[in-house]
Symmetry: C2
Subunit: 331 residues, 2 copies
């Protein structure tokens, strides 16, 4: 039976919400099981509390959690008993395992996915792909949003191919619009990296729409935004921060608002939260790993774990892993 | 008498708002004159309409305007009769001229400032500095926000020194907090450029606070944000675009709102506009030019021209040009 590996450690709120969200996700489909890696007693306690189907859960016991104070390279040789390394090895070695989720140290998870899990052919380092909600519930995939700092044009071209495959599976799109993040729409605008990448993207089998700009990110111009991990990370954090200043301004008005004003402010708050308070809901997908790894944000809640499992099931159903391997043959 | 040069062409709304805003700015101080470059009849018409003091205005007549369809390099050799080139030459050659403003083609203005006006010692290309409003009316200076795509560490270090000088003059601060835009607060986080720049900034005589992240831009962590023109441009456009989606969401609720709801929504709208609809109000200052050039946004209004002249007067009063020359001796 297909298996999803759950590293229970790493979330700011501790392992319980991760366990509960994952157990609740068993309702999503009957044909998969969960393999938790972490404190067995804790998992069994939550299973009992939720009346979970014990035939659909296995646990590999450990209490060693890699934290944000650990150096990412600690997983290189060692920390074999950590929940993160055990999860990566289970994902690699269990032929039924289709993916894993973890809220742990991003750097360690990246290093671990390279040295413990393994990468697809010719990939040097995975890219982080975040699906950002833009207008009307649509998602835009930002690749790379923080893993690769200094990139070459061919790496960006491969991010584009993998992002394209991701959106075809994740949002069941036929021809995602792939845009290259730059400083102007014209082909001649950009830095050396984007100018050289543009030349490569033009010849790849995808719906390349050319350059897009910083304001296009939230304007539903592209479905996939290709950039290096430096600019992508700055952009991702900025979108959320600017959105949150708007939410904070609304919250400040609430205490002095009357009932009718409260109603309209709450409506607005809900709408803007859906757009900009996205980290607790989703996870970043590693692109280029031998099997799918979803990194939940540190502020992961029960809903995060639930929706990340939903995403792993969707990616499996829509043939993401075959698609991404095929995509990488083009460049 | 000190003179401010006004290139009347380049704004989307045509030259009239620029002329009117500049004429109105004569009220700001008695001790300066305006030197308009553009259609004499038009300027005289607006002067008559506004009852402007003719002893404080001169005009160099031309009707040749460089547009956004012109290649930036057109000002290299030629277009000597364009308002932009004439303005740059007037700024250079008139010893009383303290600065100029233009809403024209940014690329042409950059090229023109290099080949027609001239740069400070050892500067290869000016940096664009935008003062972005953050919380409670405070400003943060973003350098470079779009002029220099591929930078070296020493260039970024010089952006930092010039940005520091700018904020000391522009906001009359003693020790602006200078932050380096990167992907994490720790010294070891970043790309090759920021890692090498960090090492330089540590030793410069300024209040260097280390790395800042994409979310810090709007969180009043730094007064000067140092980055290359690629990341800076993406960030600047993104801040405004995300802010505008919040404004658009408010505007959508207005038609169905009752009087009390309207009141609170309008209050919120005004507050967020002040933070995020900043382009029409301000201009980007060129850093590294022999004299101060302020580039107004294409959507410049009467208020833009007025406030840009206010800024030029402030920079002159607070000794910006001496300060920036001194700053550049440190690196």
């Amino acid at each position: 039976m297909k298996t999803i590996i759950v590293d229970i450690y790493g979330a700011d709120a501790g392992p319980v919400p991760v366990i509960r969200g994952a157990l609740r996700a068993l309702e999503l489909a009957p044909d998969f099981v969960l393999h938790f890696v972490g404190d067995r007693t804790l998992v069994e306690q939550e299973m009992a509390a939720m009346g979970a189907d014990a035939t659909r859960v296995t646990v590999s016991h450990t209490t060693d959690a890699i934290t944000n104070f650990d150096r990412p390279t600690c997983v290189f040789n060692g920390r074999d008993e950590s929940s993160m390394v055990m999860s990566l090895l289970a994902l690699k070695n269990d032929p039924d395992a289709i993916g894993m989720l973890s809220a742990g140290n991003t750097g360690a998870l990246l290093v671990g996915s390279i040295v413990r899990l393994g990468l697809l052919a010719d990939i040097k380092s995975p890219a982080l792909c975040s699906a950002i909600p833009v207008c009307d519930g649509k998602l835009v995939a930002l690749v790379d949003c923080g893993a690769n700092m200094d990139c070459r044009p061919r790496e960006l071209a491969r991010f584009a191919l993998m992002g394209d495959a991701f959106m075809k599976s994740r949002c069941e799109m036929e021809a995602p619009r792939v845009g290259l993040l730059s400083v102007g729409r014209e082909e001649g605008k950009g830095n050396r990296l984007t100018l050289d990448t543009y030349a490569l993207l033009k010849d790849l089998p995808m719906n390349f729409i050319g350059n897009i700009e910083g304001n296009d990110v939230v304007n539903d111009v592209a479905d996939v935004i290709v950039t290096d991990g430096f600019a992508g990370n700055i952009l991702l954090k900025n979108v959320e921060a600017v959105g949150k200043t708007a939410l904070a301004a609304i919250e400040e008005l609430l205490p002095t608002a009357d009932a009718a004003q409260r109603e309209v402010l709450e409506k607005l708050h809900a709408r803007l939260s859906a757009a900009y308070d996205f980290n607790p809901r989703g996870g970043a997908t590693f692109l280029g790993t031998a099997k799918t790894v979803v990194k939940m944000h540190g502020c992961a809640t029960e809903d995060t774990a639930y929706s990340c499992i939903d995403q792993l099931l969707l990616l499996e159903r829509t043939g993401f892993s075959t698609r991404v391997k095929e995509a990488l043959t083009y460049c």
